[in-house]
Symmetry: C2
Subunit: 336 residues, 2 copies
Amino acid sequence: MTHLSLSDVHDVAYTCLTANGCDHENATAVADTVTLAERDGAAGHGLFRIPGYITALKSGKVDGHVRTTIEHVTPSMLRADGHGGFAPLALATARDPLVAATRTQGIAMAGLVRVHHFAALWVEIEALTSAGLVAFACTAYMPTVVPAGGTEPIYGTNPLAFGWPRGDQPPMVFDMATAAMARGEVMVAARDGHPVPEGVGLDKDGNPTTDAQAIVDGGQLLPFGGYKGSGIAMMVELLAAGVIGERFSFEAGDADNKDGGPPRGGEFLLAIDPSKMGGDDWLDHGEKFFARYLRIDGTRLPGTRRMSHRAANEANGVDVNDDLLAKISDLTTGAT
Amino acid sequence: MTHLSLSDVHDVAYTCLTANGCDHENATAVADTVTLAERDGAAGHGLFRIPGYITALKSGKVDGHVRTTIEHVTPSMLRADGHGGFAPLALATARDPLVAATRTQGIAMAGLVRVHHFAALWVEIEALTSAGLVAFACTAYMPTVVPAGGTEPIYGTNPLAFGWPRGDQPPMVFDMATAAMARGEVMVAARDGHPVPEGVGLDKDGNPTTDAQAIVDGGQLLPFGGYKGSGIAMMVELLAAGVIGERFSFEAGDADNKDGGPPRGGEFLLAIDPSKMGGDDWLDHGEKFFARYLRIDGTRLPGTRRMSHRAANEANGVDVNDDLLAKISDLTTGAT
């Protein structure tokens, strides 16, 4: 492992992205997102993703020079068209217009279309909670998750995230795959020879299994929580594709060039200003709920672990896998 | 069992409600909701609820003569104040203004405050899907569900519902408790001596159990889907109480008079016009998703069973428990 400061992480990502066809704005936005992931201990969304980003640039699936355009469909509804670029620049571009619309209208949504999303959702959630807004986001992906009762995939891992602002404290944010387990986690379990819990996946013949390798080898992931979680995964499809006119997971899978980089898809973002209806004491009211919640033995707020990684990694930097750094270095120098 | 037409069901409900302090408008709205539940085979939300509605009228917790007032907080945000009445009249009153706001703004929400909700959410979801809108609703209740990791309740059964319009076909609607199982279902299992699945509840000492009676006897319900479902239950609290300035489940529990009728609470309703961003072919696009989904062996759309009950019960009427009918009859004649 090599020890890097967060500034080093950003440089490694930025340099590799610009060497492979991203302009300054796009490289900065992607490197920012990668750095935030490393900062919060989410290595699976950090530098680990750089080879996939580069693959998508090299195959021409993603354009590293585009700008996002914002259309006000209504005063409460924005379309952020990424024109085939990576999602981070689209999210950064959509953020201020969405905040402004929400402050005026009390509630507003942004549909991100023609973007390639390859990161966690808490990044965009925190961008909204930091403005004092309640935030909800979801995105569909590639068909890798089987609906409850079935044996063939139609859902992506279809993450869904929600955030509540807490004033000077870190916001309450959860960001969950509606898959029982993220594919990356199953791959790690397979690599380490660990089983996964019941209900996580099926083997290649459609039988339930706790063998992580059997899920990786042509098997399928299941939604969390059985039929109920399967319904939530369907809601994600309908919001992140149906409502905003982008591709369902199955359509993204059919259309993708299978280069291993992120497919084209959409994202649904919703923001609400809690001061509009929640009363002047909305912040204290929320805190009363959290206090009652935390008084219960054994509970912790979602995101707590991420926040403790954040504090440590901001102070100390992070350790990054040497093979990964060597690979990113090759991608950087090989491109020049 | 006594066989009743749906018109008879409505009469039984309406007569009992008016005999116990509901005016025509409130009795009609509640009887409509009760009748829709019987029609769709959801007996637990049908006439079975009448004694609870009457209890709340008799104790003075609920006022059967109020009218709902609608305030346009912003063009996209409505407050529907039920002034301490039952939820059905508030929902009926809020429906057209919410549809109008959504048609104009593309997305709109209604916060129902000072209402007493004692029914299923698919009723209000279908009222919006029938106008061609995508709909989302959730409500908190009384603290009966323990957060993941804890042993004391803070969540209500906190149902969440979502609907997608399908043109001439019945809409896709799911309506799920975020509790692993609705309390009523656990009570039925206990009555019938059946166990419940693992993960449904804890006994009175906080230990996991599959003994339904042990959950009923001072035990607690768990959220569906472990930590992820627990996060969704928290989101319901924050939307249906925090955002709209109503009581969290724990506050509703603290404030309730414990008469057995529905506590005061709030409901969060969201509607989106899919024609605004989904493209001219948004309906066909959704149908492509459902066709792909239904092509998978073993799947069915949420709500399918309810729709088959609906067809049968509209044609043939329903059978209602004699003890329940006798009880409602006593409540009706005893009040006059």
